[in-house]
């Protein structure tokens, strides 16, 4: 068998072949922004001692099964682990999906980097990283963060509350569902593969997705309206391996991996890649007559309703986490602090105590 024989203890210069699996295809922006540069740097800095054997597009491990695949030893590295799809195991990670009024890829990548690597105590002397990953025997790094999820619809700009209420919106995440409920609109869950058809025939009116991802699903021909300044969170993911695998790697390899990962998450090139995609799609869609509107330009009634829904989403999330025995209030406060420190804003009227 492949990797067992080849990965040896410290100081050895034997070739180390690592099976790396990704649920997303190699065309995905994460590869360009983060995974490819990371793998290249590790290979370079170990003078080719490490070699990655890449399986992509979910050909080996389905999205959401990465943790089990790492534990069983089927793969050595997950690029990434979709921690957000396993809320039982990774309950705190969802914090980056909380709504903000002002945030972008660069702001949130800084905030997430700080959440991952700085020592902010949350509970019993443990940090976010300890509680979420360290306790699960994982050695992971944070991924670069994309632009925010926003509500986009196939209709006209929303002017009245009644128009907002009557929307049927596909909610891809738990928090977009909560938000939609508080907005008074109808949350619909359906496979992403059905959403194109459903949007084009009017089965649903809209979806929550980051603008840069439109092209992946052909949405740039469909969406005519996007409401901005009600950011429905930023998708995060982590990549890495089990502690056991980590400890089996020689010191120089570990150093190379660690440094590369921590540099790249806040690397301007990486955020630029994430943001470039966003502006490309924006241009393309605007040419087709698609409208992007800011929340602050809407009528006070709409602003109030949207703000209230965002604030309620924070409260509901915190309550649920606390009820499940997690430090919901603490991490929410920490996240707000990190977002604001890095130049972002949380919804108006949010009070945390």
């Amino acid at each position: 068998g492949g990797s067992d024989e080849t990965n040896s203890g410290e100081g050895s210069s034997e070739k180390i072949i690592l099976k790396a699996s990704s649920g997303v295809p190699e065309e995905h922006v994460w590869f360009e922004a983060l995974f490819n540069p990371w793998m290249e740097r590790v290979v370079e800095e170990t003078n080719g001692q490490v070699e990655f054997e890449l399986y992509s597009g979910g050909e080996l491990v389905d999205i959401g099964s990465e943790f089990d695949a790492l534990e069983s030893g089927l793969i050595d590295i997950a690029l990434p682990v979709f921690n957000l799809y396993d809320q039982k195991r990774f309950p705190l990670s969802e914090v980056t999906m909380l709504p903000t009024s002002e945030s972008d890829s660069a702001i949130i990548s800084q905030a997430f980097s700080s959440l991952m690597y700085d020592e902010h105590e949350l509970k019993e002397g443990k940090s976010f990283y300890d509680l979420e990953f360290g306790d699960k025997d994982l050695k992971v790094w944070g991924s670069s963060m994309g632009e925010p999820y926003a509500m986009s619809t196939t209709g006209d700009p929303v002017e009245k509350l009644s128009e907002l209420d009557s929307l049927k919106l596909r909610t891809p995440t738990r928090l977009t569902e909560v938000y939609t409920k508080h907005l008074g609109a109808t949350p619909i869950t359906m496979p992403q593969t059905d959403a194109y058809d459903a949007l084009s025939r009017g089965t649903i009116d809209g979806n929550f997705i980051s603008v840069g991802d439109w092209k992946s699903y052909g949405y740039h021909d469909l969406f005519s309206y996007t409401l901005e300044g009600a950011n429905l969170g930023h998708f995060n993911a982590v990549f890495g391996m089990t502690n056991e695998k980590w400890e089996s790697l020689p010191e120089n390899v570990r150093t190379a991996m660690d440094e590369a990962a921590k540099d790249l998450i806040v690397d301007p090139n990486a955020t630029e890649v994430m943001m470039r995609l966003d502006s490309e799609v924006r241009e393309l869609a605007s040419d087709n007559g698609s409208v992007f509107e800011k929340l602050e330009d809407k009528s006070p009634v709409i602003q109030e309703a949207v703000n209230k829904a965002m604030v309620e989403t924070w409260y509901e999330w915190i309550d649920r986490l606390e009820a499940e025995g997690h430090p919901g209030t603490e991490i929410a406060k920490l996240w707000r602090q990190l977002v604001e420190e890095n130049g972002g804003e949380v919804p108006e009227g949010l009070e945390l105590e």
């Binding site: 492949g2 597009g57 069983s72 030893g73 593969t193 089965t203 092209k215």
Partner: protein
Amino acid sequence: MGEIPVIIITLTLFIALLSIGLHISTVLLLSGIVGIYLLSGVQALTGILELDPFNRVASYTLTTIPLFILMSQFIMHADIVKYLYSLVFKLTRGVSSVLGVFTILLGGFLGAVSGSGSAISASLGQIAVPELKKRGYKEDLAGAIAAVSGSLSSIIPPAIGLIIYGALTQTPIGDLFIASIIPGILMIIIFIIVLMFLHKRSKREVIETEEAQSIELDNYSAKQYTVAILTGLFIVGAIFGGIYLGIFTPTEAGAVGAFISLITAAILGKVNVNFIKKSLRSTLEITTMVMVIMIGAQVFGKFISLSRIPRKVLEMLEPLMGMPLLIIILLLIIYFILFMFLEGAAVILMTVPITVPLAQAVGISPLEFGILISAIGTAGLLTPPVGLCVYSVAGVTKIPIENLFKYSLIFATAASIAVPAILLNFPELMTFLVNNK
């Protein structure tokens, strides 16, 4: 063990178990297990066998398989299809080839409301094969027609393969759907031509045909025909109308179709405990058959993925970049072979990141390439050794697989050669509708 010996051992085992008569689902599962174990050890096997059976089945998208089959069971047990076939046969004054054409067109229509070729093939295997046989079709050919008709769903939109391809390559899915309409019709025409040719030949082989025809001149009343046409139109109209008006998605259409058919059968007075029991039993048996083959195909697919065969083969193509036509022909041949052994979505996921840049380098756009692959993928549902549509028909009709493959392979080969040849010579057939939408 080295990779090459493992690949040889596993493929040999696969062929041996298959030909000696082990159930196909078990052949896929076992050779997958052996291959993964030899290649990557028990850890990899654990990771795959623990997750795959559940993950494969626990899918909202796949609800369309049981529910679509349930719909066809309700329709069949209400005798609607029986009357329709009899009517078409009568109206064409007994020209039996029309019935085969009718079946292929029916498959095309069903393909426009469902993405699951296996489900449609299984349904047509039950509904159409007995009717075709009664009216002079050789059993094997009738079965192959059912499989061929079902396979159309993977090129006629909505098609899961095109959606996955679109998401992978950032090609607008709407464009892919529109671009596949003419190639889909082209595929139907080619299937019909092959059918006419094969039916003529097999009729000469089967001498008893004359007797079969004269024995089977069933006469239903005008009222029965009218009811069949009206209910048939009602069900089809409700499903198409519902999808195109945006009332439900193609995935939900299975459930709605089953429900409407049940109500229709009830109005016709066909529903009783036995009706429900018979319909449910067949639905579950066929669904489970399809699902257990899909689980096996998934595990076997993981072996192929771990062996890195597709990647290695494609790497070997790079030195030939100077000869565009050769590259494209070789790519299509490779796809034909991959689709022989693997399920469609797996092939696309595994290869597209490598092949699309190759195709672009020789002047084929991602949109055109997607349609070409999808045509070959449709044929792949009909080719041995892993032909999901053929398996479905074999399961429900008990016709020996090898007899079905004998015919389905002719359909598949003809389509795989003719469709790309025509499309490559007249690319406007793919791009025209997109550019003028």
